[in-house]
Symmetry: none
Subunit: 194 residues, 4 copies
């Protein structure tokens, strides 16, 4: 159903719209959560509701695709980061900072509850999160075995903690959000040091 897992090929304009919707919906979900009005989700992507529903049969499916897209990008980044950093600790820091990007952190924060509730019913999502978590945990283990990171917390929990602090705070302007998130991650990185 996703563009990469098959399903019938879409017409060029339809595929373009699909991408715009995933991007636009991701943006609004970051700000207002996965319950944002469908009408606004459509508007933000510059399409009508009808188009939204033609591409994604219901809200659940839309949110799912946004989540899948997010995890794909996260996995890509993780792969790169790990390859580029010789030390576990520096790879970990790199990954955590990557989670500070709004497109990842704010979104994963907004989706945390939704994912907890729906991940188990969805094989592809389960697979992707497992892959992402696997990358993250192996970096955590490496950092821990280097003696660089505390050992009383594991990868899952670090990820949860990060998704909490990277939540977008709609009351602050975008710039303040980025700065605050960065500062919070600094604190957490220091707090994780062994």
């Amino acid at each position: 159903m996703t563009s990469t897992t098959g399903g019938p090929r879409l017409r060029a304009d339809a595929e373009r719209n699909r991408q715009r919707i995933i991007a636009g919906a991701g943006e609004l979900i970051r700000e207002r959560g996965p319950d944002a009005p469908m009408e606004e989700l459509a508007q933000r992507s510059g399409v009508g509701v009808g188009t939204l529903y033609r591409r994604f049969p219901d809200r659940h499916r839309l949110v799912r695709e946004v989540a899948v897209d997010m995890f794909r990008r996260a996995v890509d980044a993780a792969t790169t980061a790990v390859a580029a950093q010789p030390q576990g600790w520096s790879a970990l820091v790199c990954l955590i900072r990557f989670c500070g990007e709004p497109e990842i952190g704010a979104l994963s924060g907004a989706l945390r509850g939704w994912l907890a509730e729906h991940r188990d019913d969805d094989a592809e999502l389960r697979g992707l999160t497992a892959t992402w978590l696997g990358h993250f945990e192996s970096v955590v283990h490496k950092a821990q075995s280097e003696g660089a990171m505390r050992t009383d917390i594991d990868g899952v929990e670090v990820l949860r903690l990060i998704s909490l602090v990277t939540c977008r705070m709609p009351e602050l302007p975008a710039k303040a959000n980025r700065e605050a998130t960065a500062r919070y991650l600094d604190v957490i990185i220091d707090g994780l040091r062994g």
Copy 2:
């Protein structure tokens, strides 16, 4: 209208209902946010919607009272904590851990957005938050001047960070929530050390 600001004294049973509602609503708001259905807010408090509306003219007012009640308890605790701890740092740790209590942390997490949006229109709320923040900041300053705490982050931000990580995660059972929150606060406390 609030009992302390001098609305008309309520009949004993009415006052009892008022308290039950504030407690019950706080509990549900922690779990489902300030948009929880009024009907459920009433149920959780063991009253009918009619009673809820008789005591609080609309949702805004109910949430406000829940917030006011929370800040009162926070201020009390802060006063005690500060008095009992000679060192700034230990008082700070004490306050932060106090924020781990669900009745404070999970609630303030759930109310963060609401407060940001409405605090400014409400003198009493402004006063209370200012008091609470004042206590907290003075402890932070003291800890910083002791050299025990990093200086690149201030009290407001620490509070925001705490309200983020103390959010209730409805996908986890109550016990797991408490433990996770405690662990996150440990990480943060270590991250704040100077």
Copy 3:
């Protein structure tokens, strides 16, 4: 859930509304089928949509109660009719004519498809239709054993045939509908004679 099978007793006005809704909805369903807009179903009963939904959680449930109510009345009538008529054939004619009443025949015509699709999932409905059909079939058998009725058609089919010809024809005014239905039933009664 139905008023007779229990559920918590409703307040007097609520129970009155419940009855008005079942009556009003039955009327509109006769004319426009079980897909009639909920708004109009409410209007026809003189209540708002909200009230409709408070009493019946969704369309399915509303239609179901209308159907249950119809079968109750049919069973009552059948019992009476059978008791009053010594001959199987005359009891049968009596029952068939009873099905000409719009509150029964037009409604059962409008509900035929719906019932076929949902009866099996609903024990009470299954029971009621079985009872009604039982009464009808025993009258049919009696008439057949008297030699008064043809034997190449059974009770179920006669009922289906009746529900077809008693369908309301919205293009005709009410009076014409009644007359036409009566005439069609005359033809069928004559056609059923042995």
Copy 4:
């Protein structure tokens, strides 16, 4: 616009599509009524919606053509039947049985309401139905004057009765539908005997 009333001659493939659509739409209308989704009407005919709309400007026009086509076939059959049967009664039985064919009876059943509502606004349809009814009524009169048929019901009403009992019952499989319809018509034929 209709092929016989002299719209512009269509290209061969376009005309072929036109016929496929009329056939396919007739089939689906029999099963789901004249409100069946346009998308499904197109699918059933093996074309896209666009093509459907190119051939028929809106739903009304499509249904109309399906109705016109049905009446043409009915008139043809009536002419043949009447010519072949010397007796009025046997011609009538022949016509009634012809109405048992799904392509006529089930369709006319499904279209009954639609026709009642729209026939008067459409000269060609009025003409065709008048012709068909004329044939039918003359057969009815002949049968009545032979003393073979009851006289308390006229041609229009017999046709209405037939269109009621020949309605498709989607809850039954195709074969059961045919058999049930045949049996119902037997009953009615016997009921019409003088």
